[in-house]
């Protein structure tokens, strides 16, 4: 199968390439399932970045969050031909924006995404849904990015603990796809500065460090939603 990784450079350029790998074998071993186009000429695989549960488990078979961005990799497969230069085009730009190989959730709804040749022929197309997030969850990860589980609304840490975490958006029962900016506000309830949160070098990951005993309320905001967790740090 001929592989056309048109997503990689663009995704990295806007800071969304956290989960991408320049090694196709590695990407296939840990990556999400591809979604086949209507013609079977191409498969579309999301660049999952922070290893979000929705992206890894479902591939493109989940809605993209309004306001989120998602890099795509196109696997092109027409017998006897390598891939021409491919571009993406959205049928309804009010639902999906296209920036190179990255799609952006502009508004709720659905739109087909056309994979176009340089001569503006349609190589293949898929349909993508976009939905607004109604809840946010904080997900804890192992250092290699694997998911441990979802943060409880209240939890206890020990001084010296350092957690790798990401934020996932949900719409009712579905985890939404895409990467997005998240801000954290820490309200100290007890102690001086029990907890510090910094962005990881990989976009979408964040590190929470428990520095000293105390209690904090962390309010995170993303995609016009907010979520609170309370953390007590014990000596």
């Amino acid at each position: 199968m001929r592989r056309h990784w048109i997503a990689l450079l663009s995704a990295w350029a806007i800071g969304c390439g956290g989960g991408s790998s320049s090694n196709p074998d590695l990407a296939e071993s840990v990556g999400p399932p591809p979604s086949g186009g209507a013609f079977g000429n191409a498969e579309v695989r999301p660049e999952c970045g922070t290893f979000s549960q929705a992206c890894l488990k479902q591939g493109l078979d989940a809605p993209l969050a309004v306001g989120a961005a998602l890099g795509l990799a196109i696997d092109y497969d027409i017998a006897g031909s390598a891939a021409p230069e491919l571009t993406l085009s959205a049928a309804n730009p009010e639902v999906i924006g296209v920036e190179g190989a990255v799609i952006v959730g502009e508004g709720e709804g659905s739109s087909s995404l056309l994979i176009m040749s340089p001569e503006q022929q349609v190589v293949d197309f898929i349909n993508v849904w976009v939905a607004a997030a109604d809840t946010l969850e904080v997900v804890r990860h192992y250092e290699n990015g694997d998911v441990i589980g979802t943060f409880a609304d209240e939890g206890t840490l020990l001084v010296g603990d350092e957690l790798l975490m990401s934020v996932e958006a949900f719409n009712t029962t579905q985890a939404l796809m895409g990467q997005f900016e998240t801000t954290f506000a820490i309200e100290v309830l007890d102690g001086d500065a029990p907890v510090t949160i910094v962005d990881d070098v990989v976009f979408g990951f964040h590190r929470l460090a428990a520095r000293e005993p105390g209690r904090v309320r962390v309010t995170l905001q993303a995609l016009k939603r907010s979520h609170e967790i309370e953390i007590e740090v014990l000596p």
Partner: protein
């Protein structure tokens, strides 16, 4: 509008009333026709339909849906026989371009295949023309 009116009587059994060699040949009546046939399904819960009824030629699409369709035509060819021109000199004209766009599909071994893309809500008309004639489709994007 032009449409195929092909009257063929079933002649599976001679005893069912097929004409004998001495009887006049059955009357066939042809009319030129150009049509689009859908070859992909719309996404779940969305609409993507091409109606090719004798009195109704209509394309109904949900906003944002793309649908692949194949051209088919039928007319009297230059050698006097009736058949398909294979949609020779095919052109598409849309009265309201943003509402519907038509792109050639890159499908090896599948010529005359195009993708209809519903880009804005409303009604418009798609004119499909080949050497066999012109067919107008009412297009509804909902």
């Amino acid at each position: 509008m032009k449409r195929l009116s092909l009257m063929l009587l079933p002649c599976a059994l001679a005893s069912a009333g097929c004409p004998s060699p001495s009887e006049p040949a059955p009357a066939y009546s042809y009319e030129p026709d150009v049509a689009l046939q859908r070859i992909t399904d719309p996404p779940p819960s969305l609409v993507g339909e091409i109606v090719n009824e004798p009195d109704t030629r209509e394309i109904v699409l949900s906003l944002g849906v793309s649908l692949a369709a194949r051209c088919w035509d039928f007319c009297e060819l230059s050698d006097g026989r009736w058949g398909s021109s294979n949609c020779e000199d095919l052109t598409f004209t849309v009265d309201d371009e943003p509402m519907l766009s038509v792109h050639e599909a890159l499908l090896p071994g599948e010529p005359d295949t195009y993708v209809l893309v519903a880009g804005a809500s409303g009604d418009t008309t798609l004119h499909v023309e080949t050497t066999c004639g012109v067919q107008d489709y009412r297009v509804v994007v909902e």
